[in-house]
């Protein structure tokens, strides 16, 4: 055991109390945009972040494309069409409200971010004349070049710009503080949310935040099924510290969740199984539409949705004959026929035709501007690619005109995964929301990855800003309540307990996380059955009862990691309970029971904890109602402000 002294002073005897009109939990893309929107409405705002806001969150290191900006001046698809497509493509198991906000307001947020100093246009004319460039606006597009609703962006510039804007607006930024619980009126489960508690990850100081409105902008859960004690940082696609604390504290406080029974076979990272995202050859997302070649250098054909081979590179970016537009992107793996875009032939067909593994991505034969758009621009602006991939490979001599990058697996994936290696990816479950992005807990608003069926950067930014302005409106007529001291004391005791546990007997965060992940692979893998799920419930509740109270942490950093794993344990139980409640197989939720057949399309199952009792209700898949009507009814102020701004710009 190490005897090196901890480098920061201990402040476990201190409680910092901070209040504001709006308290935003999580300083990622959604949290920053929420804080900015609330502050612009004249509200005092506190923004709490576990890391440092400049580069924290899933999008802090960058982002290369912004999906579904249907109101940008070049788009040929309406927000209504695009949201409906996302709903149809998922048989309705999607968040109509949040994705309509993404489609309707995404472009407004890009303009906002541009004003803050983020780069969204090719103003240096690097890509003049490219098929994906609009010469007038200098915007660059990805995927469907005819319909132009997804933009290529310089995402590494965004997060620092948001931080500056938060500072300029006087947002109180509290960094290196992990949010540990939600505070509710009178300390009651299911009551109005009035604040949150936090732990300083370096000093161990305790924080009590109170606000008239609270915005939940923490991440989606992770490391539920996947863990490597050697490489915990490589377990998932998103950062190590983004593991769904918000879901866990929301569940404990009585918030409603939906679609938590959905999980998908791993696609990225998987406890180190895959290679660094976007570092391997593929033709997906950042790499769309790179040429693939086989082990002998033979080019793998692209085909349209009808199987017609596409002979020219330009055709890979266009809808099929008679098709309005196609969908590609973060949450679309295999679009339905109506929305299916060009793709390389499936492996079975390639194998039968004598194509040989391994395959490689070959940029050398692409038109020069397409090659530069992928290698250098997108691989360079995407999260985790500027240094680890672009800079690294370039220094090591990689030349995209000469070298080809290996694909691992048989298509665009960067590894082969096992069915029980699962992730919350591809529109996973999360907090249930209404048209104000408020949860069932009055005063608790939700955005970004905390929402059910969340996906990408644009969704995070658009819903963050929306939740921020709705929280600001709520705060204007709400009172500031004091925290319930019994609730605060109980949370403080829970948070600090591991620091005084027995180091010899208490398990570490790694041992507990590994045990949870193994349990979930065993009892909540690809196949679901009541007895299996019930065994998982029993095992995890035993961990909760017997292991958690004795778990040990030596310092505030380790304590943060351990509290995260406690949250992972809570979320794992929420997932098991959600699985038990869905009685039929539902392919679109990737939910397969071997003890029940595929049923008729079933509604959302909404689940909550009511003082230890699990309660559910069903909600129709179309609960959002008419999207345009409802949006406009709920956002008259925003629309008139937008109109005023447009008139001002024209004048």
């Amino acid at each position: 055991m190490t005897t090196t002294p901890w480098p920061y002073p201990s402040q476990t005897d201190r409680t910092h109390r901070l209040s504001a009109d709006v308290v935003v939990l999580g300083g990622g893309i959604a949290g920053c945009m929420a804080a900015i929107a609330a502050a612009r409405k004249g509200q005092s705002v506190i923004l709490v972040d576990k890391g440092a806001v400049k580069r924290s969150g899933a999008g802090g290191s960058g982002c290369d494309h912004w999906e579904s900006a249907a109101t940008n001046p070049c788009s040929r698809v309406t927000p209504e069409e695009l949201t409906q497509a996302m709903l149809d493509d998922n048989d309705g198991y999607n968040n109509a409200i949040s994705h309509y906000i993404e489609c309707r307001e995404g472009w407004d947020r890009l303009l906002d971010i541009e004003e803050m100093g983020g780069k969204i246009r090719d103003d240096q004319d690097e890509f003049s004349g490219a098929a994906f460039r609009d010469e007038e606006s200098k915007l660059l597009f990805a995927y469907d070049y005819r319909n132009r609703f997804t933009l290529r962006i310089w995402g590494t510039t965004f997060k620092p710009a948001m931080l500056n804007e938060c500072r300029r607006l006087g947002v109180t930024i509290v960094e290196r503080v992990m949010v540990t619980s939600l505070l509710t009126e009178g300390g009651q489960c299911g009551a109005r949310c009035i604040g949150a508690t936090g732990l300083h990850t370096r000093t161990g100081a305790f924080y009590v935040f109170t606000g008239k409105a609270i915005v939940m902008a923490l991440s989606r859960p992770a490391r539920i099924w996947l863990f490597s004690s050697a490489h915990p940082g490589l377990c998932e696609f998103r950062p190590l510290s983004c593991i769904g604390d918000g879901h866990a504290m929301g569940w404990r406080a009585g918030a409603e969740f939906t679609m938590m029974e959905k999980s998908v076979r791993a696609q990225f990272s998987s406890a180190g199984r895959s290679f660094p995202p976007y570092s391997t050859g593929n033709n997906h997302n950042t790499w769309y539409a790179a040429t693939l070649i086989d082990a002998t250098g033979r080019e793998i054909p692209y085909a349209d949705r009808d199987g017609n081979l596409l002979s020219r590179v330009e055709e890979r970016y266009l809808p099929a004959k008679g098709q309005h537009y196609f969908l590609k992107g973060g949450s679309i793996e295999q679009a339905k026929y109506e929305f299916e875009g060009p793709e390389t032939l499936p492996y079975e067909q390639l194998n039968a035709q004598g194509y040989r593994l391994p395959f490689y991505a070959d940029l050398s034969t692409l038109p020069e501007l397409e090659r530069k758009a992928i290698w250098g621009f997108m691989v360079g602006q995407e999260g985790k690619t500027q240094v680890p991939v672009y800079q690294h490979f370039t220094r090591a001599g990689f030349d995209p005109t000469r070298h080809v990058l290996q694909c691992y697996g048989v298509g665009w994936t960067s590894a082969e995964f096992l069915p029980q290696e699962r992730q919350l990816f591809g529109l996973p479950g999360g907090f249930m929301n209404d048209w104000n992005l408020m949860t069932n807990l009055p005063g608790l608003f939700v955005c970004g990855d905390a929402l059910f069926a969340s996906n990408c950067y644009g969704h995070a930014a658009a819903t963050g800003s929306y939740a921020g302005r709705k929280a600001a409106a709520y705060a204007q007529s709400a009172s500031l309540l004091s925290a319930d001291e019994a609730q605060v004391c109980q949370e403080r005791a829970r948070v600090y307990a591991p620091l005084t546990a027995d180091p010899q007997n208490g398990v570490s965060w790694k041992e507990l996380n590994e045990a949870i992940a193994k349990a979930m692979q065993n009892y909540c893998g690809e196949i679901k059955r009541d007895e299996l799920l019930q065994s998982g419930v029993e095992l995890l509740s035993r961990y909760e009862r017997e292991v958690v109270p004795e778990a040990y942490a030596a310092n505030p950093h380790e304590l943060t990691r351990l509290l995260e794993v406690f949250d992972i344990l809570t979320v794992a139980q929420l997932i098991l309970q959600s699985c038990l409640k869905r009685r039929e197989t539902c392919p679109k939720l990737e939910f397969y029971r071997t003890d029940a057949p595929c049923g008729a399309p079933a509604p959302f199952i909404v689940i909550r904890n009511d003082n230890g009792v699990v309660r559910t209700r069903t909600v129709p898949l179309d609960y959002a109602g008419d999207l345009r009507d409802n949006y406009e009814k709920h956002n008259a102020d925003y629309l008139s402000e937008l109109e005023e701004k447009r008139r001002g710009t024209k004048a």
Binding site: G60, H231, L240, A295, T296
Partner: protein
């Protein structure tokens, strides 16, 4: 020539993500402050921070992006180093 070698205990590292060039590092610790995971803790004045939690690195590269003197190299674990080849080296059928 025969030589008597000395032994010591050490922690076996599955990976060492960050390497500092001490001749370039000015000890500003901007890298440490940028890291959202907080994998580093303060080092001695004028020297690089200590990489105290190397296994928690998620290899985002933000510490390198933040470094004004180019003192940091980020290295993926060996198993994660992607392979590429000269296209001309692929054997035609």
């Amino acid at each position: 020539m025969e030589q008597k070698l000395e032994f010591a205990f050490r922690q076996t590292m599955p990976a060492q993500p960050l390497h500092f060039d001490e001749s370039k590092c000015v000890g500003c610790h901007a890298c440490m402050e940028a890291c959202m995971i907080d994998v580093m803790t303060p080092g001695e004045e004028g020297h690089p921070p200590v990489v105290s939690f190397p296994d928690e690195c998620w290899y985002c590269g933000c510490c390198v992006m933040e470094c004004q003197t180019g003192a940091i190299t980020l290295r993926h674990p060996l198993m994660n180093q992607t392979r590429w080849v000269e296209k001309a080296s692929l054997k035609k059928e």
